[in-house]
Point group: C2
Chain length 351, copies 2
């Protein structure tokens, strides 16, 4: 339990903490979605994850669940425990010290300047063994929104495409129901629930009046804010908005008024750290042209369409060499007879 | 060795026979490409495969290699041994009987009316144990050309596409070098070597002057005949041709004069049982419209192109429901950072 380097048990418990962190991905902005597992004598005595809106923090929740059982135990946290007291709660580093935890394993150092190593230092000063950088890559992906906001002053963007084998998203008449099957469409709804905002272009908005909600049992309360990309103003303007938000339009569903932005860069002003871009082809192209796509979800059905509507419009690709090396396959799975591939931006891709 | 039903050893030896059968796939028309393994006392005593042009047959080759060692052994053959004597050689059923083989395991019954069960009957009448339908599906795929010729009076057709993730095969200016990487392109050449004929549309022929040969070490003698699909006559006509072949055009490479056909149905007249359709989009669409594609090879590079040239033109798809259920994923593999997916026509798909 006191090892100063990571063990295989450590990686296993961290994987459990990362799974907890996923529970509120897309609902903690501007806070990171953190997961925490407290282990004492080989068993879990407390579990926590950042609550919707950002508080309580994961460590506070896990410690509250553990009570005195945390003493002498080990805390697995996906992000460095915070070192700053806030009006909304005490510093998690202090809570861990007060609970008598003997060891803390951390996936990722917190880039927030109020912490940024001082949480780790405070734990060590209290005699706690601290191990860092355990499953750091997975933690970066889990908290992509928080980290992209810190590093690039904008949300993390996922572009979703649902295509035929030959890359078409609709027939020439626009019909697209359905290309992918029920399992793939349910997975799209699960991905929606992990994002703060769902974005479509005005064309899709007006043609389909999409609900853009989460229609999964038990997750219907998680429907993200809706955002429309349009270079023209919305049909009617109402509420006061951040500078680059044009306005809120009428909501054809009578709920969740959409936010309107006039360029992909407008996502920086959204109160969202994870944005899910769903289409159509011009919107996908606009985000690619602005180099604002971090992650690509490609749902593919085993069908051919031929002449139809292509998934992505012109995003200004000059030559084939420039297309290579930008995307790396991260995950793939079967969803019924469809297949999901998840790609992420490569490190060598320009930011 | 005398089992009258298949054992796991049988399936293993049949897999070896199927691998041998692949050696001359695309070079035995109008004969099937058959593989044969002779096993005695647990070891291989002879191996054979249909030789280019169709003779000797696989069994004759394997028996010649085994000599007296075949006596009492077991023959694994991917197709029912022939029962008819031809000017080019004796019936393989008779050869197996004469060699004193005790058991014959067969993947597939021969639909040729000159055999069609009579090979099996003759073996059994001679006291040989015969087991049938071992790895029959794999054998059907291996001899797809021969069987399609028998069942549909035309060659088996493979359509190859090499696309970006978004289904594009070129930039708007037509440039397509390179979308896929070296490993995928080498695999295309390997597939070419397994086909009697490579077909492109006139647009591709005139734009790229493609060599359409097999540029792999040790396989350069296997370059298939070249076929051009064109509704207009070729630039110059020369040799006498089957009825629906328009003519032979000038060969920009100075060798292997291409055959020209004026419609996809023209493949029926080619002296080929396996046709490899390589493009472009109009040609792919023509074959899909005629419902003449049996197998789809999809090479995909992890790049996005956006506005470019789509892989497949209009093939007359009326609605999305009609697109479903026609293709089944058979195999997938990584080729460098690219991915190959192999689809086959489903049984429920109209013939």
């Amino acid at each position: 339990m006191g090892a100063v380097t990571a063990t295989s048990d450590d990686r296993r418990w961290m994987a459990a903490a990362l799974a907890l962190a996923e529970r509120t991905r897309g609902r903690t902005a501007p806070n990171p979605n953190v997961g925490c597992v407290l282990v004492a004598a080989g068993r879990v005595v407390g579990r926590g994850w950042t609550q919707p809106g950002g508080r309580p923090h994961a460590e506070a929740m896990a410690l509250a669940a553990a009570g005195p059982a945390a003493r002498g135990g080990c805390a697995y946290v996906t992000l460095e425990p915070c070192a700053h007291v806030s009006p909304r709660g005490p510093a998690c580093a202090d809570l861990l010290i007060a609970a008598g935890v003997a060891r803390v394993v951390i996936a990722l150092r917190d880039p927030d300047p109020r912490t940024d190593g001082s949480g780790i230092a405070r734990l060590r000063a209290a005699g706690i063994t601290v191990v860092t950088d355990v499953a750091g890559d997975a933690a970066r992906r889990s908290m992509a929104g928080f980290l992209t906001r810190r590093e690039r002053s904008r949300p993390s963007v996922t572009l979703k495409l649902a295509t035929s084998l030959d890359g078409q998203i609709a027939l020439p008449d626009g019909s697209s129901r359905w290309i992918t099957g029920a399992a793939a469409r349910a997975h799209v709804h699960l991905e929606r629930s992990r994002h703060d905002a769902i974005l479509v272009g005005r064309g899709t908005w007006e043609a389909d009046a999409p609900r853009l909600d989460v229609r999964l049992p038990g997750l219907s309360d998680r429907s993200p804010m809706r955002v429309v990309l349009s270079t023209r103003p919305p049909p009617s303007a109402s509420a006061a908005l951040p500078s680059s938000l044009i306005g809120r339009g009428n909501d054809p569903q009578g709920a969740r008024d959409p936010l309107w932005i006039d360029s992909p860069a407008g996502i920086a002003t959204l109160p969202a750290d994870h944005v899910f871009v769903e289409g159509g082809a011009a919107t996908a192209a606009a985000f690619l042209r602005a180099d604002l796509v971090d992650r690509l979800l490609l749902y593919r059905a085993p069908i051919l369409i031929g002449a139809g509507k292509a998934a992505i419009g012109d995003f200004g690709l000059g030559d084939l060499a420039a297309a290579h090396g930008r995307w790396r396959l991260l995950d793939a799975r079967d969803l019924g007879t469809d297949r999901l591939e998840v790609y992420e931006r490569t490190p060598c891709s320009p930011a």
